[in-house]
Structure formats: structure tokens, C-alpha cells
């Protein structure tokens, strides 16, 4: 019974971390779909979300919800500036050079944050208290509920955006065939900008809701970014649902492994999964055969 309770506990906290990975994974996939590049500065947007919230809360003395909004908006502005200053000017660059630029940007953002806020770990208080809830012998923190709630909202929001708005449909069209999208009047540059805006907003949101559980510092983005990347790879980069499932599976396995084997192996488990996927199923876990006629 004791073990069963423990496993329930690991699964619950694993799903919560997994939901975060899923959100970060989605933000990777959105940029990948519109530009064909992997934005390695994505983890930094996650970190900025947490750091900006703490700044707005402690220095600007804003209430928590307003602080979150300010943080997400500020991070989105950084994402927008990043696209304008570092991606757009290089019109004919190959994906590889753009990817290297994103790595450079991630180092730059991390450095600036370290200079401004120092190297200390900072704590964001949970949004609605710390009284745990009991479920099937396991404890659930109110913050876990926030994470699940926000993740569900984001997934529903993405679904509505990509399937029921003209801009969302245009983004899907653009990721399938840029030239044809251009010929119906969709501006590819605009879609790329939009993808950076959406994905930095998503990334920062993930950073905000996880910060009360894991604390935050200038360098938390590296690991979170890589885990999110892993989730996106599990989903096959393109598929939204696949990425979400990938994130949840990754979080759960990581938490079970850390709990049942040794917490020292937590990150190793994630990267072992990443390597296995890349070797065995580079198209992603859930991808079906394409239905396409020529």
C-alpha cells in the first residue's frame, strides 16, 4: 500500500512537470513549424517568465495575477524583439545559421539576467497557498491544480486559434507550403513574427506556473528548454497533441525514475528517452502514415 501511494504521488507530480514540458514543447513546435528552425533560446523565455514575475511582485509590488500578466507581456516583447533584431534581418540564412543564432541569443539573455538579478535562486510564492489536498493517499498542491488548469486552457486556446481563426489557419498553411501561402497573400514574415510572439508567451507562461514549485534562477531555462525540446521530439515536432502527450509521458517517467531508482538519475532518464526516440522513432511516437496523393 505504501508503495502504491508513493507511485500515485510520483505520477501526480510527474504529470505536473510533464504539463510544463508539454507547454514548452508546444512553443518549440510552433516556431519550428513556421520557420523550420529549433529555437534554442526557448528555455530562456521560460526563465524570463519566472524572473519577470518575481521582479513585478517584489520590486513593483504588483498583485500576483497582474505580475503574471506583466511578466508574460514583457517576455513576449523580448521574443518579438528577438525575431525583429536577430531573425528577420537574415533573409536568406540557412536554418543551421539561424539555429546557431538562437543559441547565441540564449547565452546573451542568460548573461544579461545574471548581471541584473544575480546568480541567486529566487522563490515565487504559490498562487493560492500551500495547503496540500489529499487524493488517493497522495498529496496534491494547489499549485499543481494551477498547472493543470493553465495547461488545459492553453491547449484549448491553441486548438481554437489554429482551427477556427483565419490567422491560425494561415499559420498552418504557411508551415505546409510557404510558396502557396505567399501566393494567396499570406505574408510569411508576419507568420514568423506571430509564431515567435505566441511561443514566447507560451514559454513564459510555463515558466511562471512552475516557478513556485522549483524556484527560479538565471539558468533554469537550459534544462527546462531541453526537456521541452524532448517533448516536442517525442511528438514528432509537428503535432500539437503528440507534443502534449510526449511532455506528460516524459514528466511521468522522469518522476517515477527519480522516485523509484534514484533522484540523481532524473535528468539522465529524460535524455535517455530523447536519444532512444531520435535513434528509433525520429518521426515521433505518434505519427501515422501521411495521407497524401500526388
Amino acid at each position: 500500500m505504501e508503495l502504491l501511494n508513493q507511485i500515485t504521488q510520483f505520477v501526480i507530480s510527474g504529470l505536473a512537470t510533464g504539463a510544463i514540458y508539454a507547454l514548452i514543447g508546444l512553443s518549440f513546435a510552433i516556431i519550428f513549424n513556421s520557420t523550420g528552425i529549433i529555437n534554442f533560446a526557448q528555455g530562456e523565455f521560460v526563465m524570463l517568465g519566472g524572473v519577470f514575475t518575481i521582479f513585478a511582485l517584489n520590486v513593483l509590488k504588483l498583485p500576483i495575477l497582474l505580475a503574471i500578466v506583466v511578466a508574460v507581456v514583457a517576455t513576449t516583447a523580448v521574443g518579438l524583439a528577438f525575431e525583429r533584431l536577430a531573425i528577420r534581418p537574415l533573409k536568406n540564412a540557412t536554418p543551421l545559421s539561424l539555429i546557431i543564432i538562437t543559441i547565441g541569443a540564449s547565452i546573451l539573455i542568460r548573461g544579461v539576467v545574471m548581471l541584473l538579478w544575480g546568480k541567486d535562486t529566487q522563490v515565487l510564492p504559490p498562487f493560492s497557498g500551500n495547503t496540500p489536498l489529499e487524493i488517493a493517499g497522495a498529496t496534491l498542491l494547489p499549485q499543481h491544480l494551477w498547472i493543470f488548469g493553465v495547461t488545459v486552457l492553453v491547449i484549448v486556446g491553441c486548438r481554437i486559434f489554429f482551427h477556427h481563426t483565419i490567422s491560425g489557419k494561415a499559420m498552418r498553411a504557411c508551415s505546409f507550403n510557404r510558396k502557396a501561402a505567399n501566393l494567396v497573400g499570406i505574408s510569411v514574415g508576419r507568420m514568423v513574427l506571430l509564431s515567435f510572439v505566441i511561443s514566447s508567451a507560451l514559454g513564459s507562461l510555463a515558466g511562471v506556473i512552475i516557478a513556485p514549485l522549483t524556484m527560479t534562477a538565471y539558468d533554469v531555462g537550459v534544462m527546462l528548454g531541453l526537456k521541452g525540446f524532448c517533448a516536442a521530439i517525442m511528438g514528432g515536432m509537428g503535432s500539437g497533441l503528440g507534443t502534449v502527450l510526449g511532455g506528460l509521458i516524459l514528466g511521468t517517467l522522469e518522476s517515477l525514475g527519480a522516485g523509484l531508482i534514484s533522484s540523481g538519475y532524473k535528468d539522465a532518464i529524460a535524455f535517455l528517452i530523447l536519444l532512444l526516440i531520435l535513434f528509433l522513432r525520429p518521426q515521433g511516437l505518434f505519427k501515422k502514415g501521411e495521407t497524401e496523393r500526388v
Binding site: 483565419i166 489557419k169 494561415a170 498552418r172 498553411a173 505546409f176 507550403n177 510558396k179 502557396a180 501561402a181 505567399n182 501566393l183 494567396v184 497573400g185 499570406i186 505574408s187 501521411e290 495521407t291 497524401e292 496523393r293
Partner: protein, 247 residues
């Protein structure tokens, strides 16, 4: 309607268009024929703003469009149905058509008109209506071609560029497509520039034609005259052999 003066363009390092000049009057169907690699597609892509023009002038209703981005060109009333159809496979038929009206959605306030146009497309292409919720990638080649034409029409273009609409389609389907092209002109008054390798079929429905060879216009004239022209027949219509065989 459209005037092209001494346009030059490069496809990679190849000088693909050399001082090409041509014009289209309102309501005309003009065809551009020529062999593979003659520069037909390059010309259309230059008009659409996908390939930059290296010198020369393109006037759409008197307005210079050289150097404009592709989306601006569409908003000025020039739409292209690209070679190989290039519909958005993962999106549904209806979504494909809606995206044809992307710029009209963005400029706002035309929702009802767009919905009306969508219904009209379904009248013109009943097959698309049956399949409106299906992914475009699952359609047959002919249906995809109709979808590609419908998508371009949703922008309400004044000038429609068609790149090889008969490519890879069965002869009966090709007939359907050509009938649709004729209807577009007679019912909507759309001006059409038709690029074809199927020169005979194209010349039959066109008013005038231009023959493009290695990036240059080598011949132009009334479609009926080009059909009778010995050089055109030998090079593009394959009449010679047939006549000998018939006699």
C-alpha cells in the same frame, strides 16, 4: 490590364527571362506556350512577386508592381494558381478556400461576401462541396486543380495566372478544367494568362498567344494564327508527323 516591358529575371544563376515584353487586355485569355525550361513559370513567379525582376517594368492597370511583396500583388488583384496545384494538404477543402480570401478577411468587414463567394465556388465546383470537410491532400488530381483555382478566385482577382492547369491530369478532366477557364472569362469577366505545355488545347480557348523559347518571346499573335503557324506546329503541336501519317 497588364503590361510587361523588357522584364529580366534570374533563376539562380540562369538568365531565365531576357527582355520579355507582353500585354493583356481586359477580359482576354492569353496563353504562353513553350517547352520545359523556356521561362514560363519564372515569368509568372516574377509577376506574382516571388522572384525579383532584374530590370524592366510590370504595370498592372497602370500601376508598377515590380519589387512589391507577393501579398501586396495579390491585394492589387493578381492571383496565381501555381504549377502542381500546391493546395494545403493537411487543411480541409473549405479551409483552403477560406485562405484564398485571407487578405479580404484581414481587411475586415467582408464576412458575408466571402461566405457568398464560398457558396458560389461550391456551385462552380460541386465536387468540392461534397468534400468540403475532407483534407485537401486526399482529393484526386483534378479535384485538387479545381480547389487550387477556387482558392485563387476567392481573392476576387482581376487577373488570374494559371500555371500548367492540365499537368498530370486525365484528358477528360483536362476538358473540364478548360471549360471552367472559359466560363470564368465569359461569366466573371476575369482576365486570364494561361501557361500550358498542352499548346493545342490552350490555343483553342485563347484569344492570343505568345511563344517563349529560352527566355525570349520569339513569336506572338492571334491564337488561331499561331495554331496555323508552321513553326509552332512543328515545335509545339506535333502536327507534321500526324499529317504525313494521315496522308
Amino acid at each position: 490590364m497588364l503590361k510587361i516591358k523588357n522584364i529580366n529575371a534570374y533563376y539562380g544563376k540562369v538568365h531565365a527571362l531576357k527582355n520579355v515584353s507582353l500585354h493583356l487586355n481586359r477580359g482576354e485569355i492569353v496563353t504562353l506556350i513553350g517547352a520545359n525550361g523556356a521561362g514560363k513559370t519564372t515569368l509568372l513567379n516574377t509577376l506574382s512577386g516571388i522572384i525579383p525582376a532584374a530590370g524592366g517594368e510590370i504595370l498592372l492597370e497602370g500601376k508598377g508592381i515590380v519589387g512589391l511583396a507577393a501579398d501586396r500583388v495579390v491585394s492589387l488583384g493578381l492571383s496565381q494558381v501555381p504549377e502542381g496545384r500546391q493546395v494545403f494538404n493537411p487543411l480541409t477543402v473549405e479551409e483552403n478556400l477560406e485562405l484564398g480570401a485571407y487578405l479580404r478577411y484581414r481587411s475586415g468587414g467582408q464576412k458575408e461576401e466571402i461566405a457568398g463567394d464560398l457558396e458560389r465556388m461550391f456551385q462552380v465546383f460541386p465536387r468540392l462541396k461534397e468534400r468540403r470537410r475532407q483534407a485537401a491532400g486526399t482529393l484526386s488530381g483534378g479535384e485538387q486543380q479545381m480547389l487550387a483555382i477556387g482558392r485563387a478566385l476567392m481573392a476576387r482577382p482581376k487577373l488570374l495566372l494559371l500555371d500548367e492547369p492540365s499537368m498530370g491530369l486525365a484528358p477528360l478532366v483536362v476538358q473540364d478544367i478548360f471549360k471552367v477557364i472559359q466560363r470564368l472569362r465569359s461569366e466573371e469577366g476575369t482576365t486570364i494568362l494561361l501557361v500550358e505545355q498542352n499548346a493545342r488545347a490552350a490555343l483553342k480557348i485563347a484569344d492570343r498567344g505568345y511563344v517563349l523559347e529560352t527566355g525570349k518571346v520569339i513569336l506572338e499573335g492571334k491564337a488561331a494564327e499561331l495554331l496555323e503557324n508552321k513553326d509552332v506546329q512543328r515545335a509545339y503541336l506535333g502536327r507534321d508527323k500526324k499529317e504525313i501519317w494521315e496522308r
